[in-house]
Amino acid sequence: MLKVSIKKTWKEFRLKADFEIPHEKITALFGPSGSGKSSILRLISGLERADSGMIHKGEEVWYDESKTINIPPQRRSVGFVFQDFALFPHLTVERNVTYGIKEKKRLKEAKDLLSLAGLSGYERYYPAQLSGGQKQRVALIRALARRPDILLLDEPLSALDWETRRQLQEDLKRIIKQLQITTLYVTHDVTEVYKLADYVIVLESGKVIKRGTPEEIFMGRRLSTRIQIVGKVVDVESDSIMAAVTVMHEDQYFKTLIDTEEVRRLNLVIGDDVVIGAKSSDVILCKVLTETQDVLNNIQQIA
């Protein structure tokens, strides 16, 4: 568990953040650009120092202004993944990944991580020879290789194209879940929050304005509907005008028609998490007659 309670003022920007991030979960730090998300990561990692407050990692005190404790970044067990990768251009993939490793036994693990990220065979490549997606995988593995207590990701996918981003979202989630590492993920992309995060902290102009699960935070706010069902897209059949989208919620299926244009705009594909909403004015409500065996045949329509 990481506890953060910090204040810092830059020239015209005030940051005041109090929050905790749960153990071995992915927490998204969500907000528009300029809301102070990246600054929080820098303060947690020790690359910058707050004006006041404290940062506790479990029992360890990383920063406490009142006790003038400020552990340097080298001694905070974090893995930092930068937006623009920050790979060492003069080192091979292998040397990049093992850069932070001090124990011999971890070297083998680093190799396993490379293959977990689908990078076996690229050990001797230099960063300039890799695609954007590969670079970010290397950066992720480099951060994870020395098994940090906390993984900090600063909009790790924003420099990538849409297709690569989708693929990497899957990989990120798989790798982070497999290693069970406490993760703080900075993003301004709602889909990414839905896809990756267990927990969301919403930041606006340097202040935490909301926190909760993605469902708690986003549902009902973006859709002014009375009925909402969260599910996974299991099928999309589209022609040039309309598309039939089948969504699975728990063990039930819902089919709905939407504009094909909308499918394209949302980049809706199988596996996406979506919310189906309906207005309260046009809903059929039925009472289930429990005394009969065949429920479906005995629905009494009242609306």
Binding site: S45, P73, Q74, R75, A86, P89, Y99, K102, R142, A143
Partner: protein, 223 residues
Amino acid sequence: MNFAAPFLLTLKLATITTLFLFVLGIPFAYWLAFSKLRLKFIVESVTALPLVLPPTVLGFYILMAIGANGFAGRWYAGVFHKTLAFSFQGLVVGSFIYNLPFAIRPFQLAFIGVDKKLLEASWSLGRSKFYTFLFVIFPLSRQGIITGCILSFAHCVGEFGVVLMIGGNIPGVTRVASVAIYDEVQALNYGTANIYAAILLAFSFIILTIVYFINRRFFMRMF
């Protein structure tokens, strides 16, 4: 042998000076590049003084400092029981100071030019500032370091005023090529002077060609 002696002495002086500049100049340039001290610009301008001062002025002050009554001269005499002025060691001290900006400036520019994100990545991977310097900053500053070394070496070969002021003209000890040319001209031996001069000209040209070849852009940024 007598003919070659000034050249050998020049090369010896340039090599030793460059070596010192490399060893001492790199930590100094690192400090200049990364220190957050507010008065850093004063240190920077002091370091750059040899670029604008007449060599005789610089030579004069160095001579005062390393002479028998100067603080450095007295200290040196106390430790080594020798005088520093008009000795080869004295020349090394003078050349070192005189060539400082030619080495420090390219080093410093190269260090500053390394992407700050890479340093932060290194620190957040648990690596110390020293490790980061050795394995990130230094290799990525190669061009600047080579440029600084070559420039100061070449400049050292061509220096005259400072050397004459603090070293005089003692054959085999302080009589470097540039001083030898002056000496030959004074003795009206234009033929010998011409040969010395031609060799120095060719040498300087080759060195500069190499520097430009290594990194043209870098060199342009300096001047």
